[in-house]
Structure formats: structure tokens, C-alpha cells
């Protein structure tokens, strides 16, 4: 009995949102994202990844804007960075794309990976915070664990090996097969050694009376299951990108929504956009606002209409040859022209149709407005 009691005291559950919601957003979601990514691969064209970016990644960036600029106290806390940061980053991106595109591409890729792993690390910190678990040094060990696992993924997964070898060639480093194998071996060694160190840290923490939050490890397992399985089991960046974007974007939107909502409740801020979009029962408003932002963003940057519909509706696919009639296939430019003309004409026709019944002077309702 005493054994079970001491065993139970070693574990302390804590949840980011609640047991049920954590199961959905932080445990089941990576598996659903895995299935969705494979579904996109089987049933949808490559443009689907752009659609996922449009409907998930762009709204998750929108969540950052409202989170960063939405609260007066937080805005004044980080005012200079929130004002200067975007100007510097936009300016450097413009210059980078013009003069050093490879370096800029590398920066975006590496920062994106670092950002992804730091989000999962951040969630693992929240789990320890909520569960009042882990030793004071656990944060540093968790950070290193995330770095080691993620670097190992990038270095050894076939999907990424191809990428970094290509980048090495781009930079004039012509690494051979044995070179690649050596790098893989070193990475495996790094994981093995650090894995042992991490386990030692957890055992030592337990020994010193610091409990473990099992939810943190379930969450980390689910996250790394998604990344590792996609990078090892598929040959496709499309699949990896879709799965990864789904997990990252949705989890971020969820945490931002709940952060704003809890802060609004705690600080009693009851007016303004933040309060209204995060009001209980107004999730639809929050989602709608995010999607509107995504749609406007897509228009502003001049992206294709196909991206709205995961490539299912595609106006630029050429018509087939009709050999029996001696017709050759229509070019995609002609196909798009046809669609544009149809859109312009349809707008006119809809206008004619509506006007045929909304302006009847004999209608009492219409008379009220005249």
C-alpha cells in the first residue's frame, strides 16, 4: 500500500486547458494531422499545401497579431520590439530576397524549424507549470531534449537528409556517401547519450522528490510521433508540411484563444475586439475573423483562387483534346480567360436578376424606402 502511495506521489497530472480539451488538441491532433496529411497526399493535388497554409498558417499568424498588439499592458511592455521588429524584418527580407536569396531561404527554413520545436518546448513548460512538476533544472533539460530530438530528425530522416545534402552542394560542400553516413552516426550517438542523460535527470528529480507530469510526456510523444513518422515514412515534403502545419497552427490558435479569454476574464476587460471575439460561445466569431484575415491576405499577396479550395476547384486546368472534332486542347491561359469572362458576365447577370425583383414600386416594403 505504501509502495503504491509513494508511486502515486511520483506523478502529478496537470493540464494546459482541461483533461478533455488537452486530449483533443495536444494528444489526438497530431494523429489526426498525420491522417489528414496522408489524405491530402492521396486525394488532393500539390496545391493543397498552399491551401493549408492559407487556412491554418495565415490565421495562426493573425492570432499572433491580436495576442501581441491586443492587450494594452503587454503592448507597452514590448512596445519598441513590437514596433521596430516588423520594420527591420520586412526590410531585411526585401534586401535578402534581392541580394542573397539562398541565405534568406536558409534563414526562413531554420527559423521555422526552431520556432516549431520551441512551441512544443513551450507547451511542455506549461505542463510542468500546471502540474507543479519537475525540478528547477528540468526546463533546461527539456529544452535540450527538444533540440536534440529535432536536430536528429533533420539530420537523419531521409526526407531531410536530401535537403541538407542539397544545401551542402549549393554551398560548394560536396559531401559523399560515407560523409553522410558519418553525420548520421554522430547524430544517433548524440541521441543515445543525451537520452541516457535525460533519463538520469528524471530519475534523480524523482529521487529528490520532484514529481513528473505524465501529460507532458504523452504530449511530447504525440508531437514527435507526427514529425518522425512523416519524415521517415513518406517521401514527400507535401505530406510533412501539411501534417506539421496543421499541428503547429491549430495548437497555436487554441492556446492564443484560451490565453486571451482567460486574461480577459481575470483582468475584467469586457470591451473591445479581444473581449468580444473570445467571449464564451463566440468561437465562431474568432474563427471567422481569422479566416477573413486569411482571405484578405491571400488577395493582397496575389495568390491563386485555387488555394481557397485545396485545388479541388481548378480553373486553369486545360481542356482535353477532342480528336473526333479536330480540336486541340485549350491552353491554361485560355482556360483562365474563359473563367474570368464567365465571372464578369455572371456578376452582370446576377445584377440583372436581382434588379428584376428588388425594385417593385408596388411592394409595400419597398415603398417604405422610397
Amino acid at each position: 500500500m505504501r509502495f503504491f502511495h509513494s508511486l502515486a506521489s511520483m506523478f502529478r497530472n496537470g493540464y494546459i486547458l482541461s483533461w478533455r480539451e488537452d486530449m483533443v488538441w495536444f494528444v489526438a491532433l497530431p494523429f489526426l494531422a498525420f491522417a489528414a496529411a496522408h489524405g491530402c497526399k492521396i486525394w488532393l493535388p500539390a496545391v493543397a499545401v498552399a491551401s493549408v497554409t492559407l487556412w491554418i498558417t495565415v490565421p495562426h499568424q493573425f492570432a499572433t497579431w491580436i495576442r501581441a498588439y491586443g492587450f494594452r499592458d503587454e503592448f507597452s511592455q514590448w512596445k519598441d520590439r513590437l514596433l521596430v521588429g516588423p520594420i527591420v524584418i520586412f526590410g531585411m527580407s526585401l534586401l535578402g530576397l534581392k541580394y542573397a536569396p539562398l541565405t534568406t531561404f536558409l534563414l526562413v527554413t531554420l527559423w521555422d524549424h526552431q520556432h516549431s520545436l520551441m512551441q512544443q518546448y513551450g507547451f511542455s513548460r506549461i505542463y510542468d507549470f500546471k502540474g507543479r512538476s519537475g525540478a528547477p533544472s528540468t526546463g533546461r533539460f527539456d529544452l535540450l531534449l527538444n533540440w536534440v530530438l529535432f536536430i536528429h530528425l533533420i539530420v537523419t530522416a531521409p526526407l531531410f537528409t536530401e535537403l541538407w545534402v542539397r544545401e551542402a552542394y549549393n554551398w560548394g560542400i560536396e559531401i559523399g556517401k560515407s560523409g553522410v553516413e558519418t553525420v548520421h552516426f554522430v547524430s544517433w550517438m548524440m541521441v543515445t547519450v543525451y537520452g541516457a542523460i535525460y533519463v538520469y535527470h528524471v530519475v534523480k528529480s524523482l529521487w529528490n522528490g520532484y514529481p513528473v507530469n505524465p501529460q507532458k510526456y504523452i504530449f511530447l510523444f504525440a508531437s514527435y510521433f507526427l514529425w518522425y513518422s512523416l519524415a521517415w515514412q513518406t517521401n514527400s515534403f507535401l505530406v510533412y508540411a501539411i501534417g506539421s502545419k496543421l499541428m503547429h497552427g491549430i495548437q497555436y490558435i487554441v492556446i492564443v484563444f484560451w490565453y486571451i479569454r482567460r486574461k480577459v476574464e481575470r483582468t475584467q476587460v469586457r470591451t473591445g475586439l479581444l473581449a468580444s471575439v473570445t467571449r464564451p460561445g463566440n468561437v465562431k466569431g474568432f474563427i471567422l475573423l481569422s479566416l477573413c484575415y486569411a482571405a484578405v491576405f491571400n488577395m493582397v499577396v496575389g495568390r491563386g483562387l485555387e488555394e481557397f479550395g485545396f485545388g479541388v476547384v481548378n480553373f486553369t486546368v486545360p481542356y482535353d483534346n477532342i480528336a473526333e472534332l479536330g480540336l486541340r486542347s485549350m491552353t491554361y491561359v485560355a482556360g483562365f480567360d474563359l473563367y474570368s469572362a464567365a465571372l464578369i458576365q455572371s456578376m452582370g447577370l446576377i445584377h440583372y436578376y436581382f434588379d428584376s425583383f428588388i425594385w417593385k414600386v408596388r411592394d409595400v416594403n419597398i415603398q417604405k424606402g422610397l
Binding site: 497526399k41 488532393l44 493535388p45 500539390a46 496545391v47 499545401v49 519598441d80 520590439r81 521596430v84 521588429g85 527591420v88 524584418i89 531585411m92 535578402g96 541580394y99 542573397a100 536569396p101 539562398l102 541565405t103 534568406t104 531561404f105 536558409l106 534563414l107 527559423w111 531521409p158 537528409t161 536530401e162 545534402v165 542539397r166 552542394y169 549549393n170 554551398w171 560548394g172 560536396e174 559531401i175 559523399g176 556517401k177 553522410v180 517521401n235 514527400s236 515534403f237 507535401l238 508540411a241 495568390r303 491563386g304 485555387e306 485545388g311 481548378n314 480553373f315 486553369t316 486546368v317 486545360p318 482535353d320 483534346n321 480528336a323 486542347s329 491552353t331 491554361y332 491561359v333
Partner: protein, 160 residues
């Protein structure tokens, strides 16, 4: 007082400064190497060298990218050659492209679909097969900046 304020600003912006400091160092290397090898096309979609594609196939003999790059190499040789040798390169290019397509039907590699459609036109395949290849290319990459394959063929003076 001013010194403290300056150090405070420096501390707050240090991550951004470190990131862009490293970026500037790497970018200067890239700009220098561009000047040295101005003739070499740069970009992630550029076939780099036969050694690179062979390395990919050594690491994984079904490598989508490796087969794609071998196909592109053969297609480039086809464009530089005439006669029976050219036909052989075209056939080889098709072979590697089909191996790449077998591994991954919907990959983020536009040129695979684009040049495969061109190859089918050049090899006088039935219209249905060509239509399907063009459809695969356009449905996967609707925002493609590449010209209609027929225009590409006529501009390059390639003989079907």
C-alpha cells in the same frame, strides 16, 4: 543613465541583432560566391551536379529527387544533341521521370510534371496520355509560371 538605457535597448534587441548579424555574414559569403561563379545558376530547383543525383540514389535507390535529377540531366543532354543519340537521351529522361513519378505521384516538384508532359509530346504519345500529363501538371501547380509545353517546344526548336 544613457549608457544604462543603451544597454537595455541592446539587451532587448539582442536576439534580432544576433540573427541578422549571422545572416549578414552568410549573405556576404553568398554574394561573393555569386560574383565568383556568376555563370552558375543558383536556386534550390537547379540540378546541381551528376555527383549529387548519384549520391541520392546511392543513399536510396528509389529516391524521388535522385531519379528526377537524373531525368533532368538526360533531358538537358537531349536538348544539346541531335539524331539517334538525342532520342536515346529522351528515352532515358522519360525512364527516370517515370521512376520518380512512381515513388511520389503528388510531389512538390513542378519540373517533374512539366518536363514529363513535354517529353510525351516530343515522343508523340497519344493525345489522351499527353492531356493527362498536362492536367497533372496544372492541377498540382495552378500558379505555374512555366509556358505552355507546346510553346516551350517551339521556342527551343525541339523536334517532336
Amino acid at each position: 543613465m544613457n549608457k544604462i538605457r543603451f544597454l537595455d535597448v541592446l539587451k532587448r534587441f539582442s536576439p534580432l541583432m544576433v540573427i541578422y548579424g549571422v545572416l549578414l555574414v552568410v549573405a556576404s559569403y553568398e554574394i561573393r560566391s555569386q560574383n565568383q561563379t556568376s555563370g552558375r545558376p543558383i536556386g534550390i530547383q537547379t540540378p546541381l551536379s551528376p555527383e549529387f543525383s548519384r549520391l541520392l540514389l546511392q543513399l536510396d535507390e528509389t529516391s524521388h529527387e535522385g531519379n528526377f535529377l537524373r531525368g533532368i540531366e538526360a533531358f538537358e543532354l537531349y536538348q544539346e544533341t541531335r539524331g539517334a543519340q538525342a532520342a536515346e537521351y529522351l528515352q532515358r529522361s522519360r525512364h527516370f521521370f517515370e521512376l520518380a513519378l512512381k515513388v511520389s505521384k503528388r510531389e512538390d516538384r513542378e519540373e517533374l510534371y512539366y518536363y514529363y508532359a513535354i517529353i510525351l509530346i516530343l515522343m508523340r504519345e497519344p493525345p489522351k496520355a499527353i492531356d493527362q500529363a498536362v492536367r497533372d501538371w496544372k492541377s498540382n501547380f495552378p500558379r505555374s509560371q512555366n509556358k505552355d509545353p507546346r510553346i516551350y517546344i517551339s521556342e527551343k526548336g525541339l523536334a517532336p
